[in-house]
Symmetry: C2
Amino acid sequence: MRSFIETDSLSHFPIQNLPYGVFKPSDGEPRIGVAIGEYVLDLSVIEQEGFFKRAGLNEESIFNQFSLNAFMKLGKSTWKLVREEVQRLLDENEPELRDNAALREKALVPIKEVRLLLPAQIGDYTDFYASKEHATNVGTMFRGKENALMPNWTHLPVGYHGRASSVVVSGTDVRRPNGQMKKPDQEFPVYGPSQQLDIELEMGWFIGPGNEQGKPVAMADAEDQIFGLVLVNDWSARDIQAWEYQPLGPFLAKSFATSVSPWVIPLEALEPFRVSGPEQDPEPLDYLKQSGAGSFDIHLEVYLKGSKMEQPQRIISTNFRHLYWSMAQQISHHTVSGCNLRPGDLLASGTISGPEREQRGSFLELTWRGTDPIRLANGEERIWVEDEDEITITGWCQGAGYRIGFGEVTGRILPALVAADTMK
Amino acid sequence: MRSFIETDSLSHFPIQNLPYGVFKPSDGEPRIGVAIGEYVLDLSVIEQEGFFKRAGLNEESIFNQFSLNAFMKLGKSTWKLVREEVQRLLDENEPELRDNAALREKALVPIKEVRLLLPAQIGDYTDFYASKEHATNVGTMFRGKENALMPNWTHLPVGYHGRASSVVVSGTDVRRPNGQMKKPDQEFPVYGPSQQLDIELEMGWFIGPGNEQGKPVAMADAEDQIFGLVLVNDWSARDIQAWEYQPLGPFLAKSFATSVSPWVIPLEALEPFRVSGPEQDPEPLDYLKQSGAGSFDIHLEVYLKGSKMEQPQRIISTNFRHLYWSMAQQISHHTVSGCNLRPGDLLASGTISGPEREQRGSFLELTWRGTDPIRLANGEERIWVEDEDEITITGWCQGAGYRIGFGEVTGRILPALVAADTMK
């Protein structure tokens, strides 16, 4: 399949992908679009022209909206219908849009000319801890090799509630947080800027229709809840975390900012890249039993660009398929108690690490808590993220001659606010 | 001060209170009202009649809304203006509403004839752990007397992100959750209904204007963020919690339901009952320093009514003033990292316990983990909450001849869903 909008083999957004996003054109209100090559197809225009109605969509004004929530709510059959119509309109053999210069002019906008916004109004954000390598690395550093994994870890996807208000779209600068921390050798805690600022390479997925409170989502239905996937950088302040997290878990260490990529890749676009996740031993309880392949082969990379660097340098290279717990298992577990998910809720995987050093998804693991610095090509070293560092996560599925890309999520660190009068 | 709508000395809603809520009349859409005695004053009518505009409110249509969020956002000076105008209209010496039968007919609805809804659209819900007695009791049971309080507890208000989607209004039935748990003497975890269902007596407060991401709220400004207070029952499944909570904190054990009372008591109504909280030792860091009295004398009670009981029986009697960390300290700490609060966000105190047995705010503490059952007047005992039990929390400030009441938050437990095919 090819589009009349040309894309080369490295493009993230060929006609096989068609991710959804919310964009603000230079001269109008935010609305919903689909990325195709270097362009955004404005779905509010396609909707207004009646294409979706003719294709069988009964709803009005789904795409002339500030967020994808209303579309997410409609569920899989509607997503399929819209995707097929968009794919048809962009096909190189379909003249309807290709040969209509006036419509092309109205509906296709260069991505460079728009501002990309947060794709959904996120009601709740949940962060899991689904990578066995990550949990083992962190556990080994904090509790030693013998007690690395907590006894519950291999029986359920451990997760916690994150902060929805501070989820920001790629490109938003991130202010280094101030907070309270106490080093092991200090008698009293101190207030000040975090000295151990870290990243977490994650992927997230937005919930579609959701479930009623009290009614769990069974494994067989769990993937129908996945509207699509994004890249996530779950910024973390390790020194704040170490002091605050017992016994109720991470709080301020992770709620100052979480960055997500703007384009939501439909689950359907990932189907050709479906693979089995790692073997699960012990076998999960019935309500978590995965039948069939539940993971995806998504290559993931992280780049760092410091203020003294000419070029970003790759520091991490890993794969989504390393995750021990599948997205379906995370969804089923999340709802087994009757907890309700709502359209636009964001679930994220937790840090995705693999078995090799370059596959570790956080500075904490890469530098083994500071003992083995990251060496940069210009001679600098990094133990933690420094002010002005720009961190970019990117990822894609590699097809035969094309890529299903996730674009990128990027964020630059601003120095902490100086609040001398509240220092102690 | 008295209203022409008569209230006796035990009424929760005299003219000194004037709490806000969202109600649905039998013949109309949800809108905002104020409770006065046995009536709701429909603020959408008062607004439409131009009273607020004459009093100086510039905004239109703040009260013809499904939630209080827009009003919460406007901040303290607007809250004051509206409160003064409502208090004036309800005063026994003011004829404008008192003597206008047509307006009274339109604007005053018996509470019994309306349905009370969730007062706000809650973006994020944060739950603290601010009672020293509660943290000490729980810590003693789980880790022994010597290590009861974690080292961080006296230095910062420990808190965690809760689940916003499952917050429900008083009167909503609560389904006993299924989940995964493992008793200490079991080799493997099992799936099934929680056998250790508990309550947590808490109070919550809704955030007003909120703060920009990256800009903390200083202690001096923190109370300006408090729109008003409600009663909270943070239902908890202790067996699910014990198995899941390490290392990221409580997740499914508390996200199946959290019940709140429908009437939001303005902070201003509580001013006559302001008191100092417990002395804080060690002295908090500067960014958490409380100047002046930061607590309130609010009497709190919990009642249980089992299916075989004629009358509800009081099982807990305690006071908000026992809380170690003030609301202002919780807000300042929450934002010190730059985490943004938004209008309608809910912060809750965590379980409020006092030094005496009857002052313990959860079954876990009351029964000392099941070793000392609650004895009911009809001869029954309780270790945990049972199916069909109805739990009601109520509370008030006692003035001279009047009460500032919080109404109540009530919830009844429905039996767990039977899902035999997913049992193991």
